[in-house]
Symmetry: C2
Subunit: 469 residues, 2 copies
């Protein structure tokens, strides 16, 4: 029996771009962390927005649900199909062209399948900066960054992906192409559809291209690692550094003693900046449009004030690019050290900055009561109120045994986040993984509005079903 | 005959807050520029979100359309009722409380009816900055600023109102209160309802409160006025100044020779910074978190480079707050000078910055061909690509005679904006005034999505009907 739907797809984009064999499809079906493998009717690989539109029309006609997919580096099962075998994967990776850089407007027009690093490099070649930066930048695509409103390490100064995008091209659930590729800083002509598609994880339409904002390249970037006694002290330093450095403070990362000990144990070749152990560490990055001296002056000034006021205990300022890289390396090795140490329970939460210290104290107490000795691997983008609040077993406890407590641990963490006015997904999104949490923590009023919008824009329910809602 | 709907309103919020007499209602019915006076069944003045919700429920039950209103300073007839006499005005001005300032989180929780200046002052008292700044700041309310996504003079550095808001409280068209009052820098838990209500001009729901972002106060702000030969040169200076000053460049305003001549004629007491006339002028503002010397150094450095490269012809740097005020005064007197000169035809447009010079040249040529001798009063927020592109009659021509050409003039300007990839409403919104333009310049795909969202969230069509769509 021939499959009329797949036949149509082959006519539209060529048989070689309609993958159906298990071998061809395998790499599209398993999630980034290897926790889940779905099934698919086919993997479709269009090469243009027009082809995406035609495929979506076919999906509508044959009622075939589709899962848009970019670099597949998401962490919440948002870009892999379910296990029904009824869904098709719509891979955007062939839409990988940087179409145009407008240096005077400081914008770049890119297709959705461009790799983030490719975009960063193209901006740099044009003498400009595309500031979005995150661990997966060598593999993730800008379409995925937009669909999940990705965060990363430069949010403090430049905002989330949403703030870095001026316009979109989207294929709607009806298979029409919406050309919203505006390169405007101000535009008040109706509803903000751009920001609705950004962060919608492909459930309302398929992002096929975007106009991105570019910035002047800083002349110098200087990093420091400081040691302090508590998260509260780290927050005092954040406030001091923001007042002192203004927009020049481009990153502010927190790491607990547990994190540094983990890195030290699994990566003993990495430098140990301090002779003594401290309770908390903060990584500060200052960028200057003026000069290296200016950046150093700002950073040393802020640190000097903080030492004098007793907010911090010790500090190391990198005086070369290599030293800066070494300090960032410590931060970036935390997830790798965790992986080497065995699995743990991960949470990507955000809080009002004023409540983070109390959140950390109270949540730790609740977890210790329920799971005595459990270790908190708490680090993240403190300047954005975003913590990667991960929970590992007690020393000597089996990882598998501890992982069985996933639901109970996450319940404690997320309930606490909710009490403190925070978010259970700061930068990873909801996907299929956190869908049930959403109904626990969102009000009925908000969920109903989201459902009404979903139904209005995707009445057939073919766009990435089972994700978010 | 008693009016059951109004009776219900009186029960809900008290008879003294249900205005029905012509005298009581008059000030709520005429638009800011005095061009249009509508009629209303009543003016309702609730004091809380709960009262707003109850009134919206009553409106739904009795199918009474409502027009949310704040400071009524909008320029596109978005906050006044039509002339049917069937609509009620929902005035938010009694919701005027600054609820809470969280200095550690750098946020402020305000009710929608707070006057912008009241918010600026409260931030300043807390040692922080709320950067939104615009001409109507002494009268406009933050609810209106949010509903129109207001722009102003600080967008270059801090963004539009949308970028200054972290969370909202909204009364939905069903009369439910949505508590989205989050104070989070990162939150990826579903559709971006916040940005959908921002800029929706009250057509999807009524904004009743907001969490606003605050910033460190700069230690010094320095202003300069420069003279140059063309818009193209002014754009070269913008690019140079952005590279040189980075985020310290907090405003960049353009004014044509016609603007300065108008100001000189109607306000002869204002200083004339240059002995000679020049074709274009730009106002630059640089802010520093460090010191006045630092700000002056940046500004003088950028100007020095520009003079050396022949980009600009002359410059005046203000060396005191009084001198800074005097330079801004020239800019701020342009609209007043226009008003004193007689009515003209106003346009609030934005363009990709790279295309502004060509837009100005080509549009001027088209207008001169159609209306020989007409004068272009072109000024605005060049750093945001936003021009107030106003057209006045030729010397000696009667203003009334020229105003009769409104439709033809606006058609030329807006068609040209469209060709250059711009927006016909940069910061004022659509309201009732530009509604028909929207159908000319927006694609059917986009309009259909907007209509689908409107119907999904406001199925009875009671929220500010006839505005935007």
């Amino acid at each position: 029996m021939t499959d009329a739907f797949l036949e149509r797809c082959r006519q539209l984009i060529g048989a070689s771009h309609v993958l159906t064999s298990h071998a061809d499809m395998a790499s599209y079906l398993t999630d980034w962390r290897g926790r889940f493998t779905g099934r698919a009717r086919a993997v479709l690989r269009p090469a243009s927005a027009a082809e995406v539109a035609q495929l979506v029309q076919a999906c509508g006609e044959y009622r075939v649900p589709l899962v848009p997919q970019g670099g597949k580096t998401g962490l919440v099962l948002g870009s892999v199909p379910d296990d029904s075998g009824l869904e098709v994967v719509l891979s955007l990776t062939r839409l990988n062209r940087i179409v145009h850089i407008d240096t005077a407007n400081r914008t770049m027009l890119v297709q959705a399948g461009c790799i983030l690093q490719q975009i960063q490099d193209a901006a740099e070649e044009a003498g400009l900066l595309f500031p979005l930066s995150l661990a997966a930048e060598g593999s993730c695509t800008i379409g995925g960054n937009l669909s999940t409103n990705a965060g990363g390490t430069a949010v403090l100064r430049y905002g989330n992906t949403r703030e870095l995008c001026l316009g979109l091209e989207v294929v709607t659930a009806q298979g029409e192409v919406w050309d919203g590729l505006r390169g405007l800083r101000k535009d008040n002509t109706g509803y903000d559809l751009r920001d609705l598609f950004i962060g919608a994880e492909g459930t309302l339409g398929v992002i096929t291209a975007a106009v991105l904002k570019l910035y002047p390249q800083p002349k110098a970037t200087i990093t420091a690692l400081v040691a302090t006694g508590s998260p509260r002290r780290a927050l005092e330093l954040l406030s001091l550094a923001q007042d002192y450095c203004g927009a020049s403070l481009t990153a502010y990362e927190l790491m607990s003693d547990v994190c540094l000990r983990l890195v030290g144990r699994h990566f003993p070749h990495l430098p140990r900046p301090f002779a003594q152990e401290h309770a908390q560490y903060a990584l500060l990055e200052v960028s200057s449009n003026e000069s290296e001296e200016h950046a150093i002056g700002l950073l040393e000034g802020a640190i000097g004030d903080a030492l004098e006021q007793g907010i911090i205990d010790d500090a190391v300022v990198a005086t070369s690019l290599a030293q800066s890289r070494a300090l960032w390396n410590i931060r970036e090795h935390i997830p790798l050290a965790q992986a080497a140490d065995g699995k743990n329970l991960k949470h990507d939460v955000s809080l009002p900055i004023s409540r983070i210290a109390d959140f950390i104290d109270q949540t730790a107490a609740q977890l210790q009561q329920a799971f005595p000795g459990c270790q908190l691997v708490c680090f993240g983008h403190l300047g954005d109120g975003n913590l990667h609040y991960n929970v590992a077993p007690a020393e000597g406890q089996s990882h598998d045994e501890f992982l069985a407590n996933q639901a109970a641990v996450s319940r404690i963490v997320h309930d606490s986040v909710h009490v403190f006015g925070g978010s259970i997904s700061a930068e990873h999104g909801i996907g299929a993984l956190k869908r049930s949490d959403l109904t626990r923590y969102k009000s009925a009023v908000e969920l109903n509005m989201m459902r009404a919008i979903k139904t209005a824009l995707d009445p057939l329910g073919i766009m990435n079903p089972g994700k978010i809602l």
